[in-house]
Every structure is written in C-alpha cells, then in structure tokens.
Subunit: 182 residues, 2 copies
DNA sequence: AACGCGATATATCTTTTTGATATATTATAT
DNA sequence: ATATAATATATCAAAAAGATATATCGCGTT
C-alpha cells in the first residue's frame, strides 16, 4: 500500500468529502488548507496515478458538470477509506515549520537593525491581510456550528486566528525592542 | 552564484558567527534553530561542497581542537558574506508551515471525536515540553541582552514562547468544543 | 467575426530536501 | 577487553516544490 506520502492523506481526506479532480484538489488545498498545509501539482498528479494503481481511489463520473473543459474526477474506495482512518487514528503528527522570517531575524546582527525591522514589517503586513480573511471564514462558520462537519473546519480556523494574533503581538514587541536598541 | 537553496543561507549565516564543520552546523540547527527551521545532513554536505566550489566558503583550520576525530571546518569568504547580506536585505520571506496535527483535525469528521481529542492531546504534550525548554533559554538570554548579538536570538525565542502559548490556549478550547459536541 | 487573454485542466521535468543508510573513528562505561 | 554511544562525513532513494509545456474554454474587445 502507500508508503509515507503525506499528499496521499490530503487527497484521501478531501475525496472523503466529495469527488474531485486534480485541479479541484489543488484549489481546495489553496483555499481551505492554505494556512496550515500546501501542495503542488507536481505532487498531486503523481499521487493520483499511484493511488489509482493501488486501488485507494478510482475514476468517477463528473457529477457537477461545471461547463468547463472535461476533467478527470476521482472517488475514494473502501481501501482508501481504511488507509485514511488508519492514518487518522495514529495520534502522532509531524509539524514541519520553516519560518524564513525568523531565520533572517536570527542572523540580523550581520546587517543593521533597520533591515530586521523591514523583514518584520513585511511579515506583519502579510499576516494582517491573512487574518482578515480568516476572521471572515470564522464569522461565516460560527453561524452554523450545529453541522457536525463544520466544527472541524472551524477549529482549524480558530487555530489560525489564535496563532496569527500571537504573531502580530510579537511583531509589535520585536520592533519596539529593535528600535530601542538602534 | 548560488541559486535558491535556503540551506545555503542557513550555513552562511551560521558561518558568519563562527567557523564550523558540517556536523557542527547540524548541531547548531538542531539546538538554536529547531523550532523554526530544520536541516538534514543530506542537504548540508552537498551545500558545503557546492559553496566551496563557488567560493562562498573556504576550508579553515580547526581552531578549537575538541580532541574528537578530525573534522573539516569551513569559514565564510567575502563573496559569501555579500550573498548573505543580499539575502538578508530582501525583506520578503517565505514561511512554509505544515501542521499534520491540523490536517488530521480538518478530516476529523471521518472518525469519532475521541480520535481528534487524542491527536490534540499528543500535540499539547509535545508543546508543553518544548515550551519548558524555550522558557529556560528565554531566562538565560534575558540576563545579558546588552550583548548586541543576543537580542536577535532572544527575539526568535520570544516568538516561540508567544506562539507555543497560543497553541496551548487553542488546545484547551478545541478539546472543550469537541467534548461538548461528543 | 477575429483576436487575445485569463481561467481551467493535465502532465512532466529539474532541483531541493528529507530520511535512511553506510562507514569509520573516538570516548566512555561495564 | 569490549560494547556502545557520540562524533564525523558521505551518499542514495523517495518525496515535494517550483517551473514549464500543452491544450481547451469562456469572455471581452476591436
């Protein structure tokens, strides 16, 4: 069966909600998962081919004909659902974080304080914009939390809001310290 | 010159502080940078070879002879320092975050609420342990913040403390909601 | 009607990185 | 004396990112 490809689990998870094409999957990742996960076409299409060969997914008829050019839709199989559940039931999870912002800050002593302040400000502006979007999602989702599926989506958004607000508090504090230091 | 290898900048940054071997570099990454960056031997040694060929670093005599087996130490060159500064002065930074914890939670509807609670608890325990270490670093560093180089280290630790405390607040809230939902 | 352009859609290639493994040396504990 | 843990370098396969190629479709402009 599947080895250790995380993208397989992303795809199986998304297909457990609805039938999707590779292009649809990319859109779902970019929209709903973007602030805690990423995925490229270069990993999605090979994963789809491999998982179809292994019987974890199968080609499905394009139900909602969006009118656009023909697409190859996939559905999850019972074997695929088993693989997904077995992954979900393992509580251990690897969180792989790479903050280039922090890396630049760590080596900030090589240049002047203003360079580090600029790096923090660029980060701050990105987060302010992203937080606005997240808060919109949060507002929409909190209206119908009775829907059992929506609570999981809501909790990930809550995670984003909580961490982003922490980022912004840190940006202010860090810039204050750097200005004082000169 | 160098293309787009982030590991190059990590190594150049560390070498701007002191001469190091590949093994030393790995230790520095695992200790000082671990909660916001990672690096494997499989990327460090090829990067060292490539950057030496390009003249960004050079072999250096092993100053502090630690008594252990001989090691190949490297020093940054003036070209290397130029490359490092040019990277630092670009305020744009890519922060690449992959939370498998959040991914599992997002698909939590496939299994029962207890499965998601277990995933959150495993995350919570990891963060509690890591936060303890970070707070120790923070206490040590805040004693001598007059040292110009230490402030940058301190700020990255502050970032870790702020985000980890946010994680823990979220863990409590998320578990409360999942327990209520059942 | 012809044209260009942006969105949709699949696929593949190169480069970067991880994770595993191989190999050898030195220090330490039993 | 011997096992084993830490030190040290190196390489390989697998995974993923990022870039690029190719083609279709819908829409607005001229």
């Amino acid at each position: 069966m599947a080895k250790d490809r995380k993208i397989d689990m992303v795809i199986l998870g998304l297909l457990s909600h609805e039938n999707l094409s590779g292009y649809d999957i990319k859109k779902r990742i970019d929209n709903a998962l973007s602030f805690f996960w990423k995925g490229s076409f270069g990993s999605i299409y090979p994963s789809l081919s491999a998982m179809e060969k292994d019987g974890l997914i199968r080609k499905a008829e394009n139900t909602e004909n969006s009118g656009s050019r023909e697409k190859i839709c996939y559905a999850i199989t019972s074997d695929g659902k088993k693989a997904l559940i077995s992954w979900l039931e393992d509580a251990k999870a690897v969180n792989d974080l790479k903050y280039e912002t922090l890396l630049k800050l760590f080596f900030g002593g090589v240049t002047d304080a203003q360079t580090s302040i600029n790096t923090i400000t660029a980060f701050e502006n990105e987060i302010i914009a992203a937080l606005e979007v997240l808060k919109m999602y949060q507002a929409n989702l909190s209206n119908n939390l009775d829907n059992k599926d929506h609570i999981y989506y809501y909790l990930t958004v809550l995670f984003g809001v909580e961490t982003y607000e922490g980022y912004l508090r840190w940006c202010k504090e860090a810039k204050k310290m750097l200005v004082k230091q000169g």
